[in-house]
Symmetry: C2
Subunit: 533 residues, 2 copies
C-alpha cells in the first residue's frame, strides 16, 4: 500500500460526506485496485464514490421556529454529512446507497444559550437530538436508529470552537466543546502549551467528542484517556446547566465530571471544559525494537509498563501489523518506543527502556543518528494516520476492513489475542469464503494490563457487506465477553457496541444510570438508543 | 509537644471508644497539662477520660431476627464505640458526656451474603444502616442524625478483612473492604507487593472506607487518591450486587466504579475491590529545604509539580506548622521531599528537585549521610502520626483543635491561604476570647493546583466547645466557598460538610445522584443525611 495520495490538495479542502477525512486524501481508483489485488476475492473494479445527489433524503418532518431558523440547515448535503459516523459499516452503507437515517435538520449553535433553546424546542416537539462533533464515531454514535421520535436533529457543535481562556501559570484552558483537534492546538501554541491529546481521529474530532466518549489519546502509558485531563465541565441538560468547579482534585462525593465523561450525549450536551495542559516537549527520543516472538514482546511491554520510565509512546505491533505499516519486513513484531519531556533530556530513559526490551529478546537501538529503529518509527507514524483512508479504499473494492479494540488484565491478554486471531479469523474466512487476516497491536499499556487493537481484512460478500460486518462484530463481541475484556477501550459504545456493553455493565449501575438519565432528560430526546433505553 | 507517650503498650491494645486510635497512646494528664500551658485560656486540669459506663445508651428499639442475631451486638461498649467518628467535634461531645446518637445495634457480617441479608432486614423494618470501617471519619460520616427511621444499625465491616487473591504478574489483589491498613500491608508483604496507601488514619481505617470516601494517601503528586488504584469493585446495594470487571482501563460509558467511589455508603456497601499494587520500593531518598518566604516556597512547589520528577512526598509546611512539628526552629517554612522507586535509584531525581527548590530560594540539601534536612524529615513524619492523639489531649484541656483541608487551582492558592489565616483566625479569636493560631501545610500538589491543610488552635468555651466548633466550621466553609476551593480534598463530605457540598455540587448532578440513590436504595436506609436527602 502506498503512503502517498495521487490527488492534489484543493484550495478549499472538502470533507468527505461518506468516508474518512478529506475528499482529496482518499485513494484514487488505481490505488484502490492495487490494494484490492492484495486481498483475494475482492472486486475487480472499485465501487463508485457515492454522491449525495443520488440519495433520497426526503423532506424534513418538522420545521424549526423562526427564532431558531438561522441556526438550522435543511440542505441535503448537510443532512447527508450528519447521517452517520465513520465506521466501516457506515462507509459500506454509503457505498451501497443505503446510509443510516438522514437527520431532518442540522443545527449549528454558536453559544450555550442556543444549545439550551434547541433542547427546549426539541423536548417540546418530541425531536431526537443527536450531538455531533467531528462525526468520526466508529461505533454508530451519531446516527438515529429509533422510531419513537417525530424527527431527528443533528446538533453540530463545531461553531463553538474557541479557546476562551488560558491559565498559563496553572497550565489549563477553558475550551469550547466544538473545537477540532488542530484548531485547539493552534490556539494553544502561542501560549507555549499543548493538550497533547492526539487520537487517530485528531484532525476530525472535537474536544466535546473526546470528553463524551472518554477518548484515548497520545500517551501510551499513564494518563491514556482524556478523562485525566479534565479540570471542570459545563454541560447543558434539559434539566439545567451543570457547571463543576475548576479543581486540581477533590474528594467531595462521587466526581460529577466522571458521570458526564463517557455519557455519549445521553445526559446532556458538553459545551465547554477546563482542561489540563502541558508545556510543549522539547526533548524527544524514540526507538523501535524487533521481536521474533510476540509472547516475548508482550513480556517486555509488561515489564516496561511496570517501571516508572513512563514512555509517551509504547506501541507493540504484531508481525502482520508491522508488515502492513512497513515497520518490519522480516516477519518480526515491532515495539515502537517514544519518550518526551518539556524539562529534561529523555535519552537515559529511552536507553533504560531499550535495555529492558533487549533483556526480553528485543533487537534494535535508539533512533538517534539514524540507527536501526528510526525508519520503523516513521513508517508506523505515517501508516497510522493514513490507515482510515486505506480502509475506505478497501471498502470500495468490496473488502471488509474492520477494526476493534479492547483492554484486559495481563493474565488474560495472551489467550485473548490468540482467541481473537483464531475465532474472529475463522468467522471471517467462513463468512467471506476467502482468506482473511487478523492483525493486532497494543495501543496503550498499563502496569496491570494492555489495550489490544485488532484489524480484520477479508473480501466481503458483494452487496451484503453490512450483514457480513454485523456477523463478524457479533463474533468479536462474544470473544471479548468470554475473556472479560472490555467492549471498548477508547472507541466508545454508541449503538454498535450496545450488546457487549449491556453484558459488561453491572446491573445496579444500569439502574442508576437510567435513573440519572430520566432525571436529566425526562422527555428522552438525547441520543436515543445509546448506553441506556 | 513531646513525640513520645508516657504510657506503656498493653499486651492487648485497646481502641479508644471516644478518641483517636489506641487508648494507651493517648497523652496522659501531665502531657495534656503541658500542652494546655502553651495555649492561653485553656483549662488548668484536663477533663476526665470519658467512660462508657457513664453513658445512658438506652435500649435498642429493634431486635434482630434469630437468623441474624449471631452477627449482631447490642452491648453498650460496642454501640458506644460505633456512635461517632473521630472529628474534634466527636471527641468534644464524648468528653462532655453527650455523644451522637448511639446506634441500636452493631452488626459484624463475615461475608457478602450476610451483608445482603442485613440490608434486606433493615429495609423491611425501616432501620437506617450506617456503614462503618475503621470509624476514623472526621466529617460525621458514621453517625445517624435523623429521626425518620425506627432504629439505627451500624454495619461494621472489619470481619471481612482478608486479601482473597493476589495477581503477582499483573500487580493487583482482591481485598475485602473491612481490611485495616496494617493488616492489608501485612498480607501483601509476602508477595513483595504493596498498595502504598498511607493516609494519616492508616492504622485505623479500612480499604472500604478509603474507597467510599475517595481517601488521599501516600503520594503527594500524581496518583494522590485511592480512586486511581481501583481496578474493580463489588458493591452490595438493596437493588442487587454490582460487580465491575477487572480492567486496566475502559472507555465503555461512564465509569461504574467512579460512581461508587466517594458515594460514602449512600448507594451501597462496598464489600471488596481489586486494587492495583506496586513493587515494594528499594530506592529511597529524602530532603528538607527551608524557605524564608512562604510565597517563594509556593512557587518552588508549583514548579516542581509541573516537572516530571514526580516526588512521592512533597509536603510544604508553613512556619507555624514547621515549628509545631519540630521541622524548623527558626521561623522558616519547610518543604519535605521524598522520592522512591522499586526499579532505579532516585538520587538524581532528588538532586534535580533540590536544585529547582534552591533556585526558588530554598536552603538545604539531600538528607543522605545525615546532611541538613534529615532531622526535619524525621520530625515531620513522627509528628504527622502523633498529631491526632495530641489533638485529643488538647481537647481534654478545653481547647478547640480543628483541622480542615481543601484544594484549589494555583491562581487561587495564595489568596485562599491568606484569607483562611485571616478570617478563620479572627473568628477563632473572637469566639474564643483568647489568642488563636492557624497553621497551613500543603499535603498534595498538582501541576494545576494544590491541597492546603489547615490547623486551628484556640482555647474553647468551657462546656460549649461544640457550638464553638460549629461556628468556626461555618466560617471556614464560607471562606472556601468564596474562593471556589473544594469543601474537601480527602476528608470526605459526611454530615459536617453537607452545607459546603450542597453549594459546590452542580445542581443537575444532584438531581442525577438523587435519582441514582432512589433507584439503588428505594427505602432510603443507607447512611441517611450523607451527600443527598
Amino acid at each position: 500500500m502506498s503512503g502517498t495520495t495521487t490527488q492534489s490538495v484543493p484550495t478549499v479542502p472538502l470533507r468527505s460526506w461518506w468516508g474518512w477525512g478529506w475528499e482529496h486524501a482518499h485513494p484514487d481508483d488505481a490505488e484502490c485496485e492495487a490494494m484490492g489485488a492484495l486481498l483475494p476475492g475482492t472486486l475487480a473494479r472499485p465501487l463508485p464514490v457515492p454522491r449525495v445527489a443520488d440519495l433520497d433524503v426526503g423532506v424534513p418532518a418538522v420545521r424549526p421556529p423562526a427564532s431558531l431558523a438561522p441556526l438550522i440547515s435543511a440542505d441535503p448535503p448537510d443532512r447527508a454529512a450528519h447521517a452517520m459516523g465513520k465506521a466501516y459499516r457506515d462507509v459500506a452503507r454509503a457505498l451501497r446507497g443505503r446510509p443510516g437515517r438522514v437527520p431532518d435538520l442540522v443545527a449549528y449553535p454558536t453559544d450555550e444559550r442556543e444549545v439550551g433553546d434547541l433542547l427546549d424546542w426539541a423536548g417540546t416537539h418530541r425531536v431526537a437530538v443527536v450531538p455531533f462533533g467531528g462525526g468520526s464515531s466508529v461505533v454508530g454514535g451519531v446516527e438515529y436508529r429509533g422510531d419513537r421520535h417525530r424527527a431527528v436533529l443533528s446538533l453540530d457543535l463545531t461553531r463553538m470552537n474557541r479557546v476562551l481562556e488560558v491559565d498559563s501559570e496553572g497550565r489549563a484552558a477553558r475550551i469550547q466543546a466544538g473545537t477540532l483537534g488542530p484548531s485547539l492546538e493552534d490556539q494553544l501554541r502561542p501560549h507555549g502549551l499543548t493538550l497533547r491529546h492526539f487520537p487517530q481521529s485528531f484532525e476530525f474530532s472535537t474536544l466535546g467528542g473526546w470528553l463524551a466518549t472518554r477518548a484515548g489519546g497520545h500517551y501510551a502509558t499513564g494518563r491514556t484517556h482524556i478523562d485525566d485531563f479534565v479540570q471542570a465541565l459545563r454541560v447543558v441538560t434539559p434539566a439545567g446547566t451543570s457547571e463543576s468547579w475548576r479543581l486540581p482534585a477533590s474528594g467531595a462525593g462521587p466526581s460529577p465530571d466522571r458521570m458526564f465523561l463517557g455519557s455519549e450525549g445521553v445526559l446532556g450536551i458538553i459545551t465547554e471544559a477546563w482542561v489540563r495542559l502541558q508545556a510543549r516537549p522539547v526533548h524527544k527520543a524514540s526507538a523501535a525494537l524487533a521481536f521474533e516472538d510476540f509472547g516475548a514482546a508482550l513480556g517486555a511491554v509488561r515489564a516496561l509498563a511496570q517501571t516508572d520510565l513512563a514512555p509517551a509512546n509504547c506501541r507493540l505491533l504484531d508481525s502482520g501489523e508491522a508488515a502492513l505499516s512497513g515497520a518490519s519486513r522480516d516477519g518480526s513484531a515491532v515495539l515502537v518506543l517514544g519518550f518526551e519531556s518539556a524539562d529534561a533530556p529523555v535519552d537515559a530513559r529511552l536507553a533504560s527502556a531499550v535495555d529492558l526490551a533487549r533483556s526480553h529478546g528485543g533487537r534494535g537501538a535508539p533512533s538517534e543518528g539514524g540507527a536501526p529503529g528510526d525508519g520503523a518509527v516513521r513508517a508506523w507514524r505515517s501508516a497510522f494516520l493514513r490507515m482510515p483512508y486505506l480502509r475506505d479504499g478497501l471498502a470500495r473494492m468490496g473488502a471488509v476492513a474492520e477494526t476493534f479494540e479492547t483492554a484486559a488484565t495481563w493474565d488474560r491478554v495472551p489467550a485473548l489475542i490468540e482467541d481473537v486471531r483464531r475465532t474472529v479469523g475463522e468467522a471471517a474466512r467462513k463468512i467471506s469464503g476467502h482468506p482473511a487476516t487478523v492483525n493486532c497491536r497494543l495501543t496503550h499499556v498499563y502496569p496491570d494490563g494492555a489495550a489490544p487493537y485488532f484489524t480484520v481484512l477479508a473480501a466481503g460478500r458483494p452487496g451484503d457487506e453490512v450483514a457480513f460486518w454485523d456477523e463478524l462484530k457479533a463474533v468479536a463481541g462474544e470473544v471479548l465477553h468470554r475473556h472479560r475484556a472490555t467492549i471498548t477501550h477508547h472507541h466508545a459504545v454508541g449503538r454498535d457496541h450496545r450488546p457487549g456493553y449491556d453484558l459488561q455493565r453491572p446491573e445496579p449501575f444500569a439502574l442508576a444510570l437510567t435513573a440519572a438519565k430520566r432525571a436529566l432528560d425526562p422527555r428522552g430526546i438525547l441520543n436515543p438508543g445509546v448506553l441506556v433505553d
